[in-house]
């Protein structure tokens, strides 16, 4: 395979935007999620995040990384004030609208309306869900962990509500994200749809992986 190679030193010398695009791409595929919040004044906010990561299944915990001093400020403030937020998978046929949520909207304008997403509320849960998102979670804020090396923070929350598109649920509880129609992301701005190639059983010694889908 023919590679383009970089070292720690040559990365420092790259043009800033080039480096930003490349280093944001190297982790591989990222989840594309919209985080919905509501301020104490009742102003809703919606922002795209690509750093969601699984922390634990029981209790169900998810984390994401944020730089609270950028456009993500409203999301951060609303989560800390209200204690709640929603996480909504981006549908692969609405990536343009989801991406537009990362523009710097004024505080008194909701990205829901500006980006063409509809708010949906359930019982007494404060923040809005995204209508027609194939997988969505109502989250309770648990803890923020400072990442001192560069001033970012990890926000951890626990799942309170979970809505899963019925057709996407395998019999064993796993989700088929191709059926769900969930989008994937890479870097800062490339969006993908995905095709499920294989599902393998729990790996055991001496039993090489056998594709259950075939």
């Amino acid at each position: 395979m023919k590679y383009k190679s970089f070292t720690r030193e040559s990365l420092l010398e790259l043009e800033k935007i080039y480096r930003l695009n490349m280093i944001n791409s190297i982790s591989g595929f990222k989840p594309a999620n919209l985080i919905g919040t509501k301020s104490v004044d009742g102003q809703t906010n919606l922002a795209i995040f690509s750093s969601l990561v699984h922390i634990g299944s029981n209790p169900a915990l998810l984390a994401f990384i944020m730089r609270p001093t950028t456009v993500e400020r409203h999301t951060y403030d609303n989560i800390r004030e209200s204690g709640y937020y929603t996480i909504n998978h981006v549908p692969s046929n609405r990536t343009d609208m989801a991406h537009y949520s990362s523009a710097k909207f004024p505080a008194d304008q909701s990205e829901f309306e500006a980006c063409g997403f509809s708010e949906e509320y359930i019982s007494d849960f404060i923040p809005p869900f995204v209508q027609d998102s194939p997988v969505r979670m109502g989250m309770k804020f648990v803890e923020e962990i400072p990442i001192k090396v560069n001033g970012t923070i990890m926000m951890i929350g626990q799942v309170q509500h979970l809505h899963v598109r019925e057709e996407a649920l395998d019999q064993d509880g796993a989700l088929d994200l191709e059926q769900a129609g969930t989008a994937a992301l890479s870097g800062l701005n490339s969006y993908y749809s995905a095709k499920r190639l294989a599902k393998y059983p729990y790996a055991r010694l001496g039993q090489p992986s056998k594709n259950e889908l075939k």
Copy 2:
């Protein structure tokens, strides 16, 4: 859209494996990466991880989540002993071999050989890279952050070496992971290939997203 719905309480009552499969799936697409390490005794190790997350571009920092008391123990020990590791994208045509690396191999057996991957070394960098992985990084361990709520830890490292498959590099530094042939993961065991649908410019107010690929 028709949903199957769960609450915090109903999640607690689910059968354990069903819950594990479902909650591991809800974050959306995950990156599929193989982490390569070498012990001070010279024993190599290779393990699949799906929790890699971007922390910063300058310096280039990546984190992943681990439970150091499980099969991931060798990876953890080797990183802490040697201070270095590699991260290698899983090619979408070798997901079976990558998944098999999660079986409980004995300490004196290398998953490289057992799973059919070849080791590749560069200059004096200690841990092995995976030959023919489309995007791979040589990492220096920076810091581990305990996640007290469930005893997992976040491992942070800085990129020392970066190898990118030439055909996958866009002119602006972004990577096209469809061209790279990188696999995506969901849950514990579903593997996907992806098709790039769109690439949008940096989002600005009043300028709805326009697909640069069209």
